[in-house]
């Protein structure tokens, strides 16, 4: 459900669906009716387990996948009806940082060429200006000047991910979709990159759609958080509220699974209420998709899929019993 904000949200996703056909004539509903808004300058995080559709959601929003149904509005305008020119502007304004810093950089290009590549298309500036800008960007993400003529294989994972950030920044975007940008990195390097993303947001008023399964990180950086399960949002809200008082049973299961030292037995007993195995995505359960794992499931859960219901000012959950 849309969050209320006075101005038009930068990104507004409504009823987004993305189905993938599979052999034997079925479909996988990777994203099945997801709606949320992101206000300018804010961070919205999508969390969930692998296969829940969070990455597909991010990619469909940017048009990397063609959506099956639903609407994606950027700055109030529907992206589907964009003219060629508008579409080009959208691709400049909405950038992406990828999960795998090893796979997302062309091994045959120098770091400078990688950072400059997008500029050729979008900025009518001279080669020397591009070079200057590339150097500026490298400095901005904390890489030494000399890296401009290096190749990706000479860099560590953390350095490569910085290059990925510099490449995204090169086009002066407003929105950056960060698809698990930290999962390939070690904790100490993760912290460096989190700090970088936070300071860039504050300086450039960037908007982030942050896709992650790391709940501690999400809690730290996001204003709003959406929890996905089998292609749908089960809970959505202000990060402070959501992490303090998770309402949906799945969110509770997810949060109780984070390993910590405190109150082990309490968390274990929370988890004991849930079934372990995820159902098949081709053949999802009727009604509420979480019911096969949920300890509180009753007959209504198999008949009716719960809709997102408002629980508070900026908090909603899709469960019959909240």
């Amino acid at each position: 459900m849309p969050m209320h904000s006075k101005s038009v949200p930068l990104l507004s996703v409504g009823g987004l669906k993305k189905y993938f056909p599979v052999r034997k004539g079925g479909v996988i509903k990777a994203v099945d009716g997801v709606s949320f808004d992101i206000a300018r300058g804010e961070t919205f995080s999508l969390v969930g387990e692998s296969g829940c559709g969070k990455t597909t959601c991010g990619r469909t929003i940017l048009g990397i996948h063609r959506k099956t149904a639903g609407s994606v509005k950027y700055d109030g305008a529907e992206t589907e009806t964009f003219s060629k020119q508008q579409e080009k502007r959208f691709h400049k304004n909405a950038q992406m940082i990828f999960q795998d810093p090893y796979a997302c950089l062309d091994p045959r290009m120098t770091i400078g060429a990688i950072v400059k590549e997008g500029m050729h298309e979008y900025f009518k500036i001279s080669e020397s200006e591009k070079q200057e800008r590339a150097l500026e960007l490298l400095a901005r993400v904390g890489l030494p000047h000399g890296f401009v003529s290096r190749y990706p294989h000479e860099l560590s994972g953390g350095q490569r991910q910085r290059v990925g950030v510099a490449r995204a920044l090169a086009l002066e975007p407003e929105l950056i979709v960060c698809d698990e940008p930290l999962s390939a990195l070690d904790v100490s390097i993760q912290a460096q990159l989190i700090n970088l993303l936070i300071s860039l947001q504050q300086e450039l008023n960037l908007t982030y759609l942050f896709i992650s399964h790391d709940l501690a990180v999400v809690r730290h950086i996001s204003d709003q958080t959406g929890v996905m399960y089998m292609g749908a949002l089960v809970e959505l809200g202000d990060s402070d509220v959501l992490f303090r008082k998770p309402a949906h049973p799945y969110t509770q299961l997810l949060f109780s699974s984070i390993p910590t030292a405190d109150a082990k037995s309490v968390r274990k007993s929370v988890r004991a209420n849930f079934e372990d195995e995820m159902p098949s995505a081709v053949n999802p359960p009727s009604g509420c998709r979480f019911r096969t794992r949920c300890g509180n499931a009753e007959t209504i859960c198999s008949r009716e899929a719960p809709a997102l219901r408002k629980l508070g000012d900026r908090h909603c959950a899709a469960c019959h019993f909240v």
Binding site: E49, S50, S156, G158, Q159, D186, V187, S188, I189, Q190, A191, Q192, I194, N195, I198, S199, Q201, Q202, H213, L215, A216, V217, R219, H220, I221, D223, S239, D240, F243, L253, L254, S256, S257, I258, P259, T260, A261, D262, K264, R267, K268, R271, F274, D276, E277, M278
Partner: protein, 338 residues
């Protein structure tokens, strides 16, 4: 009490086209019975190379365990054993779980057969009992319909189930020590919690000791009795869980703990981060391996490697800051670990 496992002075290196990489440097520690020891460190710090050297698995790869290294299992040096003797220990007394269950399990054989294999080889179960034991084992790792699942091939199982199947293989002969090398790294949090719960339950029931290798401080906090912090192939700090989380002494341990965003922190506040990258293991390291990235680095740190200082009977640290002449520094801002 004699320790179950005693690792002394272990050095492991790899020959590469660029030169010799010293992956493990002068590592020594002990594991007592029923203890869960976590080895933490970032990628490339040598934790897996160390784990492999315990079972002398490097002879199958290109790792070289240097002369003088000792891994004593109940007093016997595993590194000096012949293949036959070693195979009596591997899988029987010491089991191992690997990070990637897809590559560790044999894709051409059913999980039932793979669990039965150690039982038959070590003669733990009689022929007519094997099937029953396999079923029991599958049930003990909480795989539903064990009888049906026995006939499944690894690719037919989900990641979590495969990991359980691998645990079943490694505990088949009720080993005294289980080495778990990043057993949950490739798994989702909910599945990770299930696997860790399972290992806890198995440990309580069988009383085996566990060496858990991980990079996740959260996992350590939830699971271990004692902790070993590794960096660039060497041990920087060792202590009980409470000592490491409550009163860590090495700046690297501080950094590791502070780098995780905690509940108490303000949203979007700066995280403590370690500047720079780990040292190149191709080059010799003079002094402390962490010196170049340490916020408290002193001139001596770059020249001489610090000795191990005992803080308590269980807590020891390798840092010049523990020297009596060193300035007294306090651990950075906050002390959350959770």
């Amino acid at each position: 009490m004699t320790p179950l496992l005693s690792v002394r002075n272990v050095n492991v290196s790899f020959r590469t086209q660029f030169g010799e990489v010293k992956a493990v440097r002068d590592v020594g520690f002990e594991v007592t019975e029923r203890e869960t020891l976590a080895i933490v460190g970032e990628s490339g710090c040598g934790k897996s190379a160390l784990a492999k050297s315990i079972l002398n698995l490097h002879i199958h790869g290109n790792g070289i365990v240097q002369e003088g290294s000792e891994v004593l299992y109940r007093g016997e040096n595993l590194l000096k054993m012949g293949k036959k003797e070693l195979n009596r220990i591997r899988g029987r007394k010491i089991g191992m779980i690997f990070q990637d269950s897809m590559t560790a399990l044999n894709p051409t054989s059913t999980i039932g057969d793979q669990i039965a294999e150690p039982l038959i080889i070590h003669g733990v179960a009689r022929k007519n009992e094997v099937k029953m034991r396999v079923e029991e084992l599958l049930r003990s790792v909480r795989i539903a319909d064990p009888r049906e699942r026995m006939g499944s091939y690894p690719h037919q199982l989900s990641g979590g189930m495969r990991q359980r199947a691998m645990i079943a293989v490694s505990i088949a002969c009720s080993p005294e020590l289980l080495i778990a090398d990043e057993p949950t790294t490739a798994l989702d949090v909910t599945v990770q919690a299930q696997i860790l719960d399972l290992l806890c339950a198995l440990k309580d029931r069988t009383g085996m000791a566990i060496i858990l290798i991980t990079h996740d401080m959260g996992v350590v906090a939830g699971f271990a009795d004692s902790v070993l912090v590794m960096y660039a192939g060497g041990i920087l700090e060792r202590g009980s869980k409470d000592e490491i989380f409550g009163g860590p002494r090495h700046p690297y341990t501080w950094a590791l703990l502070n780098a995780i965003p905690g509940k108490a922190m303000a949203r979007k506040s700066r995280l403590y981060s370690i500047k720079g990258d780990p040292p190149n293991l191709l080059l010799p390291i003079d002094g402390c391996a962490f010196a170049a990235r340490c916020a408290f680095c002193m001139p001596v740190c770059k020249r001489c490697r610090p000795k191990t200082t005992k803080i308590t009977e269980t807590h020891s640290v390798r840092c010049w800051l523990t020297h009596e002449l060193a300035p007294k520094v306090r651990r950075g801002v906050n002390a959350h670990a959770q």
